[in-house]
Amino acid sequence: MFRLAFRMVGNEFDADEVVQDTFLKAYRNLDRFDGSSKIGTWLYRIATNCALDLLRSRKRRNEKEEETVDVAETALSQEEKLYHGQMRARIDEALEHMAPKERSAFVLRHFESYSIAQISDVLGIKQDAAKHAVFRAVKKLRGIFQTRSA
């Protein structure tokens, strides 16, 4: 669960928050679990949604901060990139360029080894949509890496 959260949000602090939110929501909504999917799939669905919520709120927060502390933000980004290393920074950048569904589908497929069928189940989308979300994500990832390498 932490692994999925970390891949989705890119840092330990936020990933911990996602794991906590996931289990809180699961506990409060256990009555809604209808047993049609495995409980692991249900938990992953909640975790994915929690991660996407956090990313959305982080984006809004960053947009606000950018308006006021543009220079500080840029300096912090550089520090973070140095800290995490070039590879981590590129992966983060690629993930940031992905739409929420693409990001979720890619993380589930690539890092969690979920099949396309399982991804469609977790994200509540058709298998074709899940497949194309992975394709688009891989294209964006390649695009970022090729640009940075050049």
């Binding site: 692994r3 906590q20 506990y27 047993g35 590879m87 992966i91 690539h110 099949s115 891989v138 990832l141």
Partner: protein
Amino acid sequence: MKKHISEDEMTLFYYGEGADSDIAAHLEQCGLCAKEYEDLEALLNQVSAEDVPDRGPDYGARIWRKIEPCLEARPTLISKIRGFFQPNNLVMVGSFALIALAAFLMGRFGPKTPDNVSFISNVVPENLLNSRVSDHLEQLQMLLTHVKHEDAGDLKLRQDWARQLANDNRLYRQVAYNQGDQNMANLLDELEFTLLELANQGDSPQVEVERVEQNEEHTEILFKIRVLRSEMNPKQMLAAPSDDRAL
């Protein structure tokens, strides 16, 4: 020769979801596609190599401690019963009273087939039964946690433990079913299957592989047990969170 392979087909092939034999054959013959695939494979492998920080074996317990203050009690049986006796449910209450009367008369004058399950269902107070089931679930939780983290050193001991718990489990499942607690009966049914698997498991390498594959399943079951126990006795659940590496 087949036309060149698209990036999407290569992506599916990399993840083992494409028409593997056709694509593999094409990659053997076409240098251009082979180079393209090599690049894609190298990139995706590179991305996979990025590590996730290790949270340590007590991560599950730490998370439960953090969310503990936020966990409000889920609706208890008593509150459900109170809700049931609201005025708008009185017609239904009357219907159930009639059914109960009919059941009593059937029991009083109908054929007698006494057995342990119906005796326990009828005679043992529900709170006492809940306490026994909660203890039983705690034992199960301990066994599954033990199985998840230990080697096969004391296999015989584990098998005996699982067999004993399977016997108890069967009784509690039947009682839950008789009392109309379908959720509990379903969970116990699922647990019984797992317990019988553990009771009959050998120690060959193949079984060891299966055991590893079952870990995820056991983690899910542990979560269900934790939630169910929390509903029966929230303080007990929150006081003793166990190691749960799936977190």
